[in-house]
């Protein structure tokens, strides 16, 4: 009946491409090009640079990157899961506040925390000066203090900023667990701690794995911290090979090896997400049993939650605010407004385009896309996992090719050289941003669309609307919230973005992020504090969004059925 070539089979495989399919395909391809370019260049013949790299620095890069990932992985897992459990299941003074306050470090970019921590804890920093005064020590020989600008320091800084990913997903997973399974474990003779270990943790494991994977993707993306701390990871290495050894082929090869790390993380994340589906125990909420803590236990719980927030957010925000207040007159009379305007312009432009692109991809997919479009959107939506330095290399390569081709064309046809049209322009930066952050807007809008039942489309279609009018009259009005969220998430990430901006920006073009990085690297944190504070303040916006979602999802408050999951998590990259 269903043999090859039977009418049914032919009909099934037939696919009529339409405007939406083509649009989604083109957009996905544009976003995917940088990744493809990096891999392609890495496999092209080089001038022996790879042989040189692999015998000299490569083993070091691999070791340091690996150690950094292990350290941050363990750190974020312990802090994220522990605080999520405390806040979700126990009642202690301030536990309601910690529910959202635990997210605050998300607002702080890793490099900003690295600068502040160094500023405070180094030999000349506040803490050591204070210690010397108290104990009467004269100099370094009199006492021991850990080196801040080291691998350990980088692990600590990144853990403090990235643990909220694990916290967020862990908390959502704990909340989603039906009370019943936990109560059943109690009636079967387990105490709360045994229940945690034997029921709650195994059920939450996929979500926590996703959280750790996201945190590690951000770890690989980080450039400012490892560069400033002189930790020779891959991301720092790409920059080094490209600028100091002047080899773009070598940089692409390094980037490809880094991509292998990313692919492993992505695979882990995907598998865990798939597992999550089977770990739903119930879709119904009732209030979770909470264990009131008293005395020493309550104090320990407060301390466990307060420390990460204090070190990850209160300290940097406080120090920066202090410096900014002291130096604002000089900062404002300088180029601050130019940098802020540059950041604002780049970020808003990217946010706007990313929402349009993300929407056309998501809607194209909803209209019933074929396997090609599905694959293309999947590739495009993994952009967030690719470190900025890799994408930057991937943007430079095709742009230089297009520029050279254009230049050759005009020289042959018109007899004039137009030079490089796209490389080193704002277009290049926006393209790079889009390649990385379109995944955010796409994910948010796709989630928003998914909440609109397909029968809405069907109803509108049978009532006489074509696909475009359905989008305009039904989806867009309902998607307004998701579109705003998507734009905001992309905007904030662009404001913080450092590695791509440094590599792709035009000569002498500064954003707030590059300005902060430049000044703080030269130990002039005070002068750039206002800029850093501005970035942190913008970063608080998505934290507020998440907090609202968390408050709504709290059991017994009636609100949204599915908790925090709704808000795309990749969105809130530090």
């Amino acid at each position: 009946m269903m043999s090859e070539g039977s009418p049914l089979r032919r009909a099934f495989t037939r696919h009529i491409p339409d405007g939406w399919t083509c649009a989604a395909l083109i957009v996905a391809a544009l976003v995917a090009i940088p990744v493809i370019a990096v891999v392609a260049l890495a496999f092209s013949p080089d001038d022996g640079i790879w042989a040189h790299l692999s015998t000299t620095v490569l083993p070091l890069y691999i070791r340091e990157t690996f150690l950094l990932m292990v350290g941050v992985g363990i750190g974020t897992f312990v802090i994220g899961t522990g605080t999520a459990w405390l806040v979700t299941m126990c009642r202690f003074p301030g536990s309601r506040v910690f529910e959202w306050a635990m997210l605050l470090p998300l607002a702080v970019p890793t490099y900003v925390l690295a600068f502040v921590v160094t500023d405070q804890l180094e030999y000349a920093g506040t803490l050591q000066v204070w210690l010397r005064e108290i104990f009467g020590w004269k100099d370094r020989q009199d006492y021991w203090f850990p080196e801040i600008r080291s691998l350990g320091g980088a692990i600590a800084v990144m853990t403090l900023v990235l643990y909220p990913y694990v916290y967020l997903l862990g908390r959502a997973a704990f909340l989603e667990q039906s009370v019943c399974v936990l109560e059943v474990s109690r009636t079967l003779g387990k105490d709360p701690w045994q229940g945690f270990a034997s029921v709650a943790m195994p059920l939450a494991r996929p979500a926590i794995v996703v959280g750790v994977a996201l945190a590690l993707m951000e770890t690989l993306n980080d450039f400012g911290t490892v560069q400033f701390f002189a930790v020779p990871t891959f991301t720092a290495g790409i920059y080094d090979v490209w600028l100091n050894m002047n080899s773009i082929a070598g940089a692409a090869q390094m980037a490809s090896v880094l991509l292998l790390f990313v692919i492993v993380l992505l695979a882990v994340e995907r598998v865990a997400r798939r597992g999550q589906r089977y770990h739903h125990t119930s879709s119904k909420y009732s209030s979770l049993p909470t264990y009131p803590l008293h005395g020493v236990r309550a104090a320990l719980a407060v301390l466990a939650c307060l420390l990460p927030v204090a070190l990850g957010f209160l300290l940097p925000a406080g120090v920066l605010a202090n410096y900014a207040l002291a130096h604002y007159a000089r900062t404002l009379s300088g180029d601050f407004w130019t940098y802020a305007a540059n950041s604002l312009m780049l970020s808003s432009l990217t946010a706007l385009v990313a929402v349009v692109i993300g929407l056309s991809m998501a809607y194209g997919l909803r209209l019933g896309a074929g396997p090609v479009v599905k694959a293309a959107t999947r590739v495009a939506s993994t952009g967030y996992a690719v470190p900025g330095a890799v994408l930057a290399i991937g943007v430079i390569i095709p742009m230089a090719a297009v520029d050279n081709a254009l230049d050759a064309l005009t020289r042959n046809v018109l007899g004039i050289s137009i030079g490089l049209v796209m490389s080193g322009t704002l277009f290049a930066i926006v393209y790079g941003y889009l390649a990385r952050f379109t995944a955010l807007s796409f994910g948010t809008l796709e989630a928003g669309l998914a909440k609109i039942t397909p029968s809405m489309d069907g109803a509108a279609r049978t009532l006489g609307c074509g696909p475009m009018r359905v989008l305009r009259r039904v989806h867009l009005p309902m998607l307004r919230g998701s579109a705003m969220t998507a734009a905001l998430l992309v905007f904030v990430d662009c404001m913080k973005e450092l590695p791509m901006t440094i590599i792709l920006r035009p000569f002498n073009f500064e954003t707030l992020a590059t300005h902060v990085y430049q000044f703080a690297s030269d130990e002039l944190l005070e002068e750039s504090a206002l800029g850093a504070l501005t970035i942190v303040a913008t970063g608080i916006l998505p934290v507020i969004l998440l907090s609202v979602a968390i408050a709504r999802s709290r059991p017994g408050r009636g609100g949204a059925r599915r908790p925090v999951e709704e808000i795309s998590l990749e969105g809130v990259a530090p």
Binding site: L8, A11, I16, S455, M456, A459, L463, G466
Partner: protein
């Protein structure tokens, strides 16, 4: 006014190649007619509606609205849903949450002031005029259902498709809303194809019932035919629990512990299954003159394998009052020293104690003989 109705010819559909959901289904609905697609979940009913509406691209077969071909698999014709003149009401109603009740109803009307008046009047007739300006989420399930129906009818479709239209309503409201919907559909004279898995609903609403299973139409007939002359054991069992007896055809008859049934069309020696509805059994106290009607089969000892049979009495196992009827479980000796357990539904209150002896007759219109699988 309207001609043609809905024609689905030999429609096949597969979401996954090699695993067809619909397998050569043909359906015709005349204008003003209401046809119910009845079948268990997963039998392809909803897919058939989606294919008819154009929400799925037809793979094999043909869909016509009146004389106009709106989809054909072989030639790749696919008129998009917005240009088919087919209304569809979804199981979840799919009211647009960002539009008011009136905006929802007039969503499909572009330049038709006359229909706007109709919408206002229809809303008033249903007692919903006060809700014209509110958003759908404050409406009750029944009110949402009526708004969704009006919205689908507003553009005057030639064909109306209803996907489980009453499944979201609570039992107490269902009957009245069903009657109201039926009235409205009959009044507009639209050709209606309705999907349901509730046989009682199909019996109530339908001019014709199409029973579907595994992507095929098994039976196409009036509600009475479908109930009293089920084409297969599957159709018979669709209308509720049945007692299943086994037997073998001997010269046009089947002997069972419950009596001898006619099986005129089956060859001698055919193994058969006899399905008897609980409401097809008449149960009475022994000695009481049973309410025997012409043609009833008295439950007399079965002539088992020629030998003389000592007839053991039928005894009650349990009895439960259900209100309008009583549910009685009986043990019927099969003559070989074993016993069958069967269920009966007796009108009124009839509550024998466990072990009480009763007498049973069978209404042969409620007993259906099929070849055993």
């Amino acid at each position: 006014m309207m001609i043609g109705g809905l024609h689905l010819n030999n429609v096949s559909h597969a979401y996954v190649a090699g695993d067809p959901v619909l397998n050569g289904v043909s359906v015709f609905v005349a204008p003003g007619e209401l046809v119910c697609l009845l079948g268990p979940s997963g039998c392809g009913k909803t897919t058939l509606l989606r294919v008819a509406a154009g929400l799925e691209v037809l793979q094999v077969g043909q869909v016509r609205v009146g004389e106009q071909v709106v989809a054909e698999g072989r030639h790749g014709i696919h008129v998009p849903p917005e240009r088919r003149g087919i209304g569809l009401m979804f199981q979840d109603y799919a009211l647009f949450p960002h539009l008011t009740v009136m905006e929802n109803i007039t969503f499909g009307l572009n330049h038709a002031p006359g229909r706007r008046k109709w919408a206002a009047e229809a809303l008033a007739r249903m007692g919903l005029e006060a809700y014209a300006g509110v958003y759908p989420h404050i409406l009750s399930g029944g009110e949402q259902q009526r708004v969704a129906l009006l919205r689908a009818l507003a553009p005057e479709p030639q064909v109306m498709l209803l996907d489980e239209p009453f499944s979201g309503l609570d039992v107490t409201r269902r009957a009245s809303i069903r009657a109201e919907t039926l009235g409205l559909l009959k009044e507009t004279g639209v050709a209606t194809l309705m999907v349901t898995h509730d046989p009682e609903e199909a019996m109530f609403m339908a001019d014709r019932i199409l029973v579907m299973n595994d992507g095929r139409v098994i039976q196409d007939g009036t509600p009475v035919d479908t109930y009293f002359q089920p084409a297969t054991a599957f159709v018979a069992a669709l209308f509720g629990p049945v007692n299943r007896l086994q037997g073998v055809v001997r010269s046009g008859h089947v002997a069972t512990p419950l009596g001898v049934f006619d099986a005129p069309k089956l060859a001698d020696g055919t193994a058969v299954e006899i399905l008897i509805r609980p409401e097809g059994l008449r149960v009475a106290w022994p000695g009481e003159a049973p309410e025997v009607r012409a043609g009833d089969v008295p439950c007399k000892p079965a002539p088992v394998s020629g030998g003389a049979v000592t007839r053991a009495p039928i005894r009650a196992v349990s009895a439960r009052p259900l209100g309008r009827s009583s549910h009685v479980v009986l043990r019927v000796p099969d003559g070989d020293g074993r016993a069958l357990t069967i269920e009966a539904r007796v009108p009124g209150v009839f509550l024998p104690k466990p072990g009480d002896e009763v007498q049973v007759t069978v209404n042969p219109r409620q007993a259906h003989v099929f070849p055993a699988k």
